[in-house]
Amino acid sequence: MATVLPVYPTTRRNVELLLVLLAVVIAGGAWAVVGLTIDGALPPNFFAYAGGLGGLAVLLHLVLRWRAKHADPLLLPVATLLNGIGLVMIHRLDEALDTSSASRQFLWSALGIIAAGVVLVFVRDHRILRRYTWTAAVAGLVLLLLPMVPGLGRTVNGARIWIGLAGFTFQPGELAKICLAIFFAGYLVVHRDALSLTGRKVLFLQLPRARDLGPILLAWVASIGILVLQRDLGTSLLFFGLFVAVLYVSTERVSWIVLGLLMFSAAAVFAARTMGHVEARVDIWLHPFTAENRTGSSFQLVQGLYGMANGGLLGTGLGEGRPQTVPYANSDFIYSSLGEELGLVGLFAVLILYVVLVERGMRTAIGVRDGFGKLLAAGLAFSVTLQVFVVVGGVTRVIPLTGLTMPFLAAGGSSLVSNWIVVALLLRVSDLARRPAAEVRNGPDGDTGATQAVRIP
């Protein structure tokens, strides 16, 4: 046996601080550009805004130094920058539309960052969450069903995914996403053997046993339920995609993916054929430019495409385009708004920020040594991917438009808070993943085997 020398890797917290400050400088600079372009002067709330965002991000950074000093140093700066860019675009659209969404978004940003801090302080080890597997399941379902409660639920643009309480509206589905990620991770880490090792092999597919089909059927039924009852294509897709991905990671069986895709395709085709609003979405997706659609049902999509085309390679510059022409330019279509003013170059930068965010999440999943942490990190990272894919794919006509929010960018409080919590959880898992090995050995879920090959920097 070789002698193991304790290695104390650098925590990279200083790098993180530097990057956070850089993110604040970029976002603050953009905020200033909007003011200078539209009003010819520095926005009056410039210092409050830049200082506020910077202060909150540094606060979370200090929490990390205190409670998770080995956490991944890229997650916080990336999330801060995305949040800042979103605020800038929302503010810029406020200027054009004479609304005041940015101040509310700023408040929610503060709330989100504080929530992330709270999670980091109180959840000192993500493995604690495993104890709440079934609690999370129940919480997730309740949150998903909340909009169906008469008097509490609100229908916005045909989708019943909101609740209204004391003048505030909230999308509980956003938080349900986290609860379900915890539940999936907790459930599957326990049942992975039953799901992966049993069953008959047909051709190259290891088919699961009928009784093990239960969970995937449940997830399927639940997501169809969301689709039918709440008319929410996006959440249904996100929920099911998340489940299939985590299922695959835990069982390493491609058969689950094939089954999942088949079932989802069947449901999707059925929905497209029978449900009016889904059918309409598909028609908009396939034929947005017909004279009738262009000015009617696909007006939003087409205006978004015009905006992006108008931006071209380098964009019109902040404040120089007409993103306000697109309905919901600061939420559903913030991607095309950014595309118009920042150009292809700007959108690539934004997409790369997401790639980095997700990549750090996947890296965390690979790095952490407990199965629950792996599944949780992978689930959360993949949910961010799916959300970006569904939104951007909808705006850019890869898939039909569905209703999901662009993580961190889009106007919307529930999404912002829940995504900050997602980042907090990823930070928490990554702290363990990157912590020197000696401390981990004694962990309750010390996984053996493949993960040992991963060298901690």
Partner: protein, 486 residues
């Protein structure tokens, strides 16, 4: 669980790759196509917000310019002289698009032309809207005004050319319209104006000088005469058959002279005299002898059958072919009736080619294109030959014959003191009982200055007598005087 995690990462990579690809597809590969979509209001807003280049006339006065406006479009297109230049400038409308020079030179005026790319590079980087270049026309305000005043509201058109260069010195079409009423940002007023202009039976939106095809009437006898002289078998003195009525082949119809008399003693008349008094039967019989092919190829040398862009588009003047010139119709076509059609510009090119010793210059409206900021000349079209229509000798003979028309023939009203003036009248029938089109095409020279003019007036009064000489020659005279003075 790391192997599936790595595979899942590949799925993530694939999903993001699809987004990178779709975004590139929209913002780079398909951007031009999307920008050009009908109803893409962004492009309209952008275009209307840009500082569009001015359209100037010779001497530097702006006849179309973009002024600041306080509405959502930032700038308003304004036409200083209203309907005087409208047929040339065209309109620039948010809803109804563009016409005339506004359309033909849109790239340059809007600043999106390729030749402006390097000049606009800095604005690309600074994010400033690129400025359009200004376009100076060859039109001379004095000549244009004279032509407009001389037409005096009558339906018709006037074109004045510099025979040596092809520069268009005046181009008037009447009735005209005020393009300001279409450029307005008041959508209702714009629609109202558009509706009433389109409903107007007089078609004010048409530039009659280049867009209307008229039977050229007797002005076409210049082409027939040119064909005869060029054949080498005829001179100005060759005697032609000029009876009171000309029997036409394959029919019992006859071709008559306007005056109802023979053109000369013994039914004979010289080519020069036939042109002077515009003898139908002499040119009809001449045409029958020359044949359709000869006349057609001569007409083509003057520009018939060629599509021109000056750079606004010009309707193609045509000498008929095939059945349309068979049998008796050949005689009609030789005197500019039958199926012959010509634009006033083409009729002006006849005189211009003859005045320029037989070489027809390509007509042109653009003097130069200048950068708005530096006033650097970006483009300056050089005079271009369309081709040689007749030999220099033939041209000289034709000039003398046309001078005879003005000195003692049907065109005496075009005489100008101290100037050499040649011309040809025309009175074109275009339907039984309808007032004929009164034509006059001419050239004048004085102290080295030259000009060629064509005038058409649609309401030729009654169907009697030679109206081209009475109605249109005085208009041509006024225009030529203005050109020679300036």
């Amino acid at each position: 669980m790391n192997r599936p995690l790595r595979r899942l990462s590949l799925v993530v990579a694939f999903l993001f790759f699809a987004l990178f690809a779709s975004t590139t597809w929209i913002q780079f590969l398909r951007a031009d196509q999307l920008n050009a979509m009908p109803g893409n209001s962004r492009q309209l807003y952008a275009e209307f917000g840009r500082e569009r280049g001015a359209i100037l006339v010779d001497g530097g006065a702006a006849i179309a310019s973009s002024v600041k406006s306080d509405d959502q479009y930032d700038r308003l297109r304004t036409y200083a002289a209203g309907q005087l230049y409208a047929p040339v400038t065209g309109y620039y409308s948010l809803r109804y698009g563009t016409s005339g020079i506004e359309r033909a030179e849109n790239d340059v005026l809007a600043g999106s032309a390729d030749e402006l790319f390097y000049r606009n590079l800095s604005s690309l980087l600074t994010g400033e809207q690129p400025k359009g270049a200004s376009v100076t026309l060859t039109l001379r305000p004095k000549v244009q005004q004279a032509a407009w005043d001389a037409l005096d509201g009558r339906k018709g058109a006037v074109v004045a050319l510099d025979p040596d260069t092809g520069d268009i010195l005046a181009m008037v079409s009447s009735p005209s319209y005020d393009p300001n009423t279409l450029a307005t940002h008041d959508g209702d007023a714009e629609a109202q104006s558009w509706k009433s202009l389109n409903a107007d039976e007089d078609d004010p939106l048409i530039n009659r000088a280049t867009g209307s095809l008229y039977p050229p009437g007797s002005t076409f006898k210049l082409v027939t005469a040119a064909a005869a002289l060029e054949s080498g078998d005829y001179t100005a003195d060759t005697q032609l058959d000029g009876p009171q009525e000309l029997a036409l082949p394959q029919t019992s119809n006859t071709l008559k002279n306007d005056e109802g008399t023979a053109c000369g003693p013994g039914d004979k008349v010289s080519l020069a005299d036939a042109l002077k008094i515009s003898c139908n039967t002499a040119f009809g019989s001449l045409g029958l002898k020359l044949g359709a092919d000869t006349i057609e190829s001569q007409a083509a040398k003057f520009g018939f059958g060629q599509s021109l862009s000056i750079p606004t588009s010009v309707a193609t003047s045509r000498y008929p072919t095939g059945d349309a010139v068979a049998g008796p119709l050949l005689a009609y076509s030789a005197i500019g009736q039958g199926s012959d059609v010509a634009t006033p510009l083409q009729v002006a090119m006849l005189s211009a080619g003859i005045a320029n010793d037989g070489v027809v210059m390509k007509p042109n409206l653009i003097a130069n294109v200048r950068d708005s900021d530096s006033a650097d000349v970006i483009e300056e079209p050089a005079p271009e030959e369309l081709g040689r229509a007749v030999s220099s000798g033939t041209a000289k003979t034709l000039q003398q014959m046309m001078e005879l028309v003005v000195s003692s023939g049907t065109g005496t009203r075009a005489q100008i003191d101290g100037a050499t003036v040649g011309g040809k009248t025309g009175t074109a029938q275009h339907g039984a009982g309808l007032p004929p089109y009164a034509w006059f095409t001419s050239f004048a020279e004085k102290g080295g200055k030259k000009v060629a003019v064509a005038v058409v007036i649609e309401d030729g009064g009654s169907t009697e007598s030679a109206y081209g000489g009475r109605l249109s020659a005085p208009v041509a005279k006024t225009v030529m005087e203005a050109a020679l003075d300036g």
